[in-house]
Symmetry: D2
Subunit: 383 residues, 4 copies
């Protein structure tokens, strides 16, 4: 009888958005049990949240420190194995560090930390711990994103020349943070988000997606960073020229004032032989364009896909999978590796693909460089 | 501390398709625990399937009869409350009847039964039992399908004049059942599927969707039913003219030989004032057309939707939800009602919407009439 | 120095819709000169219309009879060679007959005539005349429609099994003919349209498109024909089951009360090996689906197309061509053949493709059968 | 009897691409007659081209100088009124200057000239002449582009904040100019194109479209300009950050090595209240997004459009118009103004909208600045 991975959660109390997403993502594949949590910095709220989730009161903690200390004392076959961190950016580093230093694997929401400095420190802690660390750059969990990555890795498009990655949203077109909207409030608050607003919240997703799919690294960038909404403390829009380490060029733009846009992360990549296009809002199709052949619509259900893509789909083609399933793929692969770790096995390479602490450091470096470029009169800033 | 609903499952052993879908659907919202199962008619396979799912061996049963008998003897706060039936059509009636007669609520895959006769008998058993019965016509679980239904109910389109509902698939374009493909084999076998192939498997979904969205009933139909693949025992294609009880006309066609199509269930409805269009493969958009105004794209994230639609979405607009989430909405509403039933409460009307045994009887009647019309020289057959 | 083909026009005076379309279609390729016309049954209006078009007053006639008689007397190198007939249905037969009997080629708007009887008579007149006759079933002029036809002809999809052809419009959702709207008035008037409304106006386009693309013929049909708008004399909606001469099955539905639809003629064809889909409103893409390969988007600009398709495109891929260009392709091919006829040459086979009087007879037979089926209690009516 | 505008053409001999487009554009609306031409610098080829077009040999000239001199001597009611210039960039200035100085209106292909210097000189000549000058930035001829412009002008989107304009093509992904492909050859040749390749050929269209739709002007830009194909003398790709004169920000990127792309010019504009999106390859739809209302699909056939948009559509909604019709709208409005000029009338303001010599100067300035920015280490270059 297979044992589920036991997970504790930091943050994600009643009314939070991303905590609920993490819980669904962890639940979908039946590999992980949520067994405890410090769901809120308010102990009563933490307990109420846990009760709502069906957790016994003795495993609903008032602080993450308490959770980690008390879980550590439980029997090995009862205590949590993994800590999931779903707090705002300024509360990533503390629980991650403590969890790792107490022997718990960590899965953490993005961006990795409050600052590049924290991120680099965390990277060392992960390395030293020998434990597993996953960052939920969830968009890399989509089957068609994995297919895109494999196609490029296998040279199907030839050398990559151009990348266009966009992340337009419109929900911060007005100053909704002023009216106390919870999601908006911490994201526009420099004491919680760090130095960046839109660039940290969604710009890093775009950066991560571009590097993940192409297998390239951004080597230089030139940014124009703006705050359009009066009174807002952090950026809500950014346009960035990119240069990659193989000579490819690119454009990244992300916005939270693109009025009327929902969550339209999308990417196009062009190589010598062909190009591809993918949109998060219609994620089950990968458009592949060729110099001399008709455009193809790749889908999980028809034609041969790479094993990494197929392993990320749960149901036959034509049955759309979405955001939660992609998010769950991060958890599924992480759980696979945690299990292998626990059993001293080498994990199946098809399931080792999840964003790492190194990806998180890249993201924090991107944030630092893009904000600094935005303030610079110099054209190119090196990554 | 909230208790989860305890569920047992009939069918859905390793290698099955729809059983896994039901389990994910039940898991997503954290309302239901799978506690036992009779996953296969082969007891060893049932136990192996249960172990894989993390169930203790003493609650993995060899037959549904054994499951129902033994669970009934467990303490009320331990034994299953709900039986989920995910077997082929010919094994719906038996477990459903026995579960209901032993005090368990039932959630059952579609079509309701092997024949209309069985369906009518089951309807009576449900009524007599006072228990809850849900049929997983899962496509009605999509938020935008619920929105469509409410718009029509509230008269936004005026009186309905025309309905076009389609369900093209291509996966049975060749005789894959001859090579032992499991999903194809039972669906093309009259001893397991009943009198219909495509019309039962997917035609009923189309019929159900049309009646659900419009709130109308098909009153007469005229069908041309075909088997295109040589050697196949049941229909793999059907074209049907429809007449509705309010005078509206329509077309329903479903096919499993529509080469290259995945799972393209879709519907268009036209009223006096406007029309709407919805496609299962891009389920998060509802296209609404007007006589004198620009076409609108309704989405969960932008603009006002009816409460029934909003309650069926878990995440903000632009984060696509798919087949599994829609399926989970049937389970979510069913779980809500089971909980209310257990607590003697009236359920929240927003969560009472799931397909009933009466919908299942409609579906079985549709199967019987459409197959009989296909053989008839008479134009119209009454429903 | 190349001479243009000289054309006279019957109908199409100021305020008409389809006359202007014919004139643009004739002008686009610089092959045809409009030299005279009987643009209206009102001689003053005819002359005013001609003046607006830059025609000299002596070649603006009060009646088609006058035009044919007087043009015939002109010098051979001056008089019109071709008569274009763009009047309502009840004024097709008269001018077509007289033109042919006086040695003029004819290009005529569809449907061919007021009744099947007229159509059959006209077919004989055409045959006897040895002259050219084209019917402007303009949708067959699209490059991608020609590509679809050639793909099927060359067996790329295997034997055809299923055809779905639709022609939804919404502009007659209310009784606009009552307010004198010119286009609506004659189309809903049995004395001008004949026995059919929507079925004649757009149903025939759907029938023609299905037969053109598949190369098959409808052998039987079963129709449900409706008039939804109170007070209207002719049908405004029809749903039809089709059987083809090779055993394929199909559905045709056309409507002028599909509220909010513009002019969404579209077709899907499924064969043993693959399927294709085309939509008039996005005419430059042909979607081709395969059993085992990704869906392809065929476009004039990328990949190999059949010569008949390439010859029908004027500009490179990505520069959209539309309704007028497709319409012009009928005129272009017709002009090519008229020129070859005049010079005693065999025309280039790539340019001989335009709808013929035989296609027109098929259309009129379809109208008669579909209306009669709509009134019949018998299921199948033979074509 | 209405007289057509008489036009002569410079360039556009047999085998040219854009010359044929201009001729169709001039012919569609029946307002313009091509009466003469200097179709090629080779007099024999010029005459052969003219003959093919049905022109009499005495009006097929060997050079544009000859054409202008000899036409000038013809009777006023016979000689050309307008010169259409469709040669490569380095042969725009000469014929334009001479035509204007001899009393002929000019319509000229874009970009305006070979260099900014030439452009500025030409602007003065136009002003001095008192004659009409149109530049065929044809994409501004689309009805939905005009609608977008009017919506912004009337404040429907509020103050504009962000503009994204793209022009990806893939046809120069390999060095086809080396094999003598005529269109590629002159476009990649600095002696014919000027200092820019892709930026001049298509970048200017993007710049023009952005300024036309928004009514704003680019005030600063920062460009990364590349030549990806080895051996090519001019740029084939460029990514540009934009700043507008009202404080809006933007991105412009254009490419001829975006493998697999056809001609996908597209633009998105975001204001305080809403956003809009338009794509040249599906030009008949304007997507309009709102902060609080469902996305709308604006089309010529449904709902109220601005008069400028309606006047640019020839046929009812649902009958797609394309590239040629948009191009023809430039000619149609130009012809309207030429006629008014000839008759001493004020033209109808709805038909005065065509790109001017000032737009051409903007385009040439853009080319100069974008190429210079590409070479600069300084971040921002002022327009």
């Amino acid at each position: 009888m297979k044992q589920k991975i036991r997970m504790g959660m930091v943050g994600g109390g009643i009314g939070a958005f991303i905590g609920g997403v993490h819980r669904i993502a962890a639940a979908i594949d039946g590999e992980i049990d949520l067994v405890c949590g410090a769901f809120s910095s308010d102990p009563d709220k933490s307990r109420a949240s846990g009760a709502e989730l069906g957790l016994s009161p003795d495993r609903c903690y008032g602080t993450y420190e308490e959770m980690i200390r008390r879980e550590k004392r439980l029997r090995p076959d009862r205590r949590m194995q993994v800590v999931s961190i779903v707090t705002p950016n300024h509360v990533h580093f503390g629980p991650a560090k403590m969890a790792l230093q107490n022997g718990f694997h960590v899965i953490c929401d993005k961006p990795l930390a409050f600052s590049l400095k924290e991120a680099l420190a965390l990277e060392k802690i992960v390395e030293k711990s020998g434990l597993l660390f996953a960052l939920t750059h969830n968009y890399t969990g989509y089957p068609m994103v994995k297919q895109a990555r494999q196609m490029i890795r296998h040279g199907e498009l030839g050398a990559i020349r151009k990348v266009v990655v966009e992340y337009p949203q419109g929900w911060l077109s007005t100053r909704i943070e002023a009216s106390g909207q919870k999601q908006a409030s911490w994201r526009t608050d420099p004491t919680k988000s760090g130095i960046a607003g839109a660039m940290g919240d969604i710009g890093t997703h775009a950066e991560n997606l571009a590097e993940y799919i192409t297998g390239l690294q951004i080597s230089e960038l030139c940014a124009d960073i703006s705050t359009f909404v009066p009174g807002r403390a952090l950026d809500d829009d950014g346009n960035v020229l990119l240069r990659f380490n193989n000579g490819a060029k690119g454009v990244l733009h992300a916005s939270q004032i693109a009025a009327g846009e929902e969550n339209d992360l999308n990417i196009r990549v062009y190589g010598e032989k062909g190009g591809l296009a993918w949109r998060q809002m219609e994620p089950n199709t990968l458009v592949v364009k060729w110099l001399d052949q008709p455009t193809q619509l790749l889908r999980t259900g028809v034609g041969n896909l790479y094993p990494e893509a197929l392993a990320a789909a749960r149901i036959p083609g034509g049955h759309p999978e979405g955001y939660l399933e992609a998010f769950a793929n991060i958890y599924k692969n992480f759980a696979h590796c945690v299990r292998a770790h626990a059993e001293g096995r080498t994990p199946d390479p098809v399931y080792t693909d999840f964003p790492s602490v190194a990806d998180g450091v890249r993201g924090m470096r991107f944030i630092e460089k893009v904000i600094s470029s935005g303030k610079s009169k110099q054209k190119w800033v090196k990554m």
